[in-house]
């Protein structure tokens, strides 16, 4: 062991003690732990921004908004409406015509 080594060791000791003194104490904010738990719980409870249950809806609306699907859907509904209109109207026309015929050939059966 030389004299130079002794000086180094002494310097290390001093440096360590100085560093320990100079190290800033980590001051946690008040109720730090509680607020951390609160934030975690809040994150858990927060709604998911894009719930998977509505994902299918978005996909379908996007698909239906394609011009060919939108036009086909509207045309289908128009035809279905026309068909029901035809059936109900034809029945009504027949009913009225039947009443007219009965009132001509058998008026006493209507009251």
């Amino acid at each position: 062991m030389t004299m130079n080594d002794d000086t180094h060791e002494m310097g290390d000791e001093r440096l360590r003690s100085l560093l320990l003194e100079a190290r800033p104490a980590s001051q946690l904010p008040p109720r730090f732990q509680e607020s951390v738990w609160r934030r975690l719980e809040k994150e858990d409870a927060a709604p998911i921004t894009k719930p998977p249950s509505l994902g299918w809806l978005q996909r379908w609306t996007e698909r239906l908004l394609l011009p060919r699907f939108a036009l086909a859907g509207l045309a289908l509904l128009l035809v279905a409406g026309g068909l029901t209109g035809f059936i109900s109207s034809a029945d009504m026309v027949k009913q009225q015509a039947q009443e007219r015929y009965l009132s001509a050939v058998a008026p006493n059966t209507l009251h």
Partner: protein, 164 residues
């Protein structure tokens, strides 16, 4: 998240408008073009799909039957008025009222018999299957009205509502 719902709402509205618009449009067209509101025989044409020749033959029978029908109606109406007069008269005898009821019933039965004869004649002008359907339908419509009431009131009925 709201956007797809909004788009879906608009699409549903457009769909409903297309459906009900189409329905109204066709119903209006049918009412205007299918019916002939001044023709008494329009029902026969629509329901039994008669051609022009058959319809013309039926029209001939119909025109021949109408005066008889009117005559029966007048006779029934006259008997009914006599019956009403008897009923309100303070001196009405039960036997006279009964006699008048029989007269009303007799004229009504004669009217129904003439009506049935007319239906038979009309049915013979139609194609056999349609004629049969017409006859059954006319008998149901003209004679079947009281049948159900009388059946429920007969002792054989399961629920003779009071007649025990």
């Amino acid at each position: 998240m709201r956007r797809p719902l909004l788009i879906l709402g608009v699409m549903l509205l457009a769909g409903a408008a297309a459906f009900f618009g189409g329905q109204r449009l066709v119903a209006y067209w049918c009412a205007k073009h299918m019916a002939r509101p001044t023709d008494d025989l329009d029902w026969l044409r629509l329901e039994f799909r008669l051609n022009d020749a058959e319809l013309a033959h039926v029209r001939q029978l119909h025109d021949g039957y109408l005066p008889k029908c009117r005559e029966f109606c007048e006779r029934i109406d006259a008997r009914n008025r006599e019956l009403q007069a008897l009923l309100v008269s303070p001196t009405n005898a039960p036997a006279t009222v009964e006699q008048k009821l029989i007269e009303v019933g007799t004229v009504r039965a004669q009217c129904q018999a003439a009506m049935l004869q007319h239906f038979r004649e009309v049915s013979q002008v139609m194609p056999p299957e349609q004629g049969q359907r017409y006859l059954v339908e006319m008998q149901r419509l003209t004679l079947g009205f009281h049948e159900q009431i009388e059946r429920t009131m007969s002792p054989a009925a399961t629920d003779p509502h009071g007649h025990r």
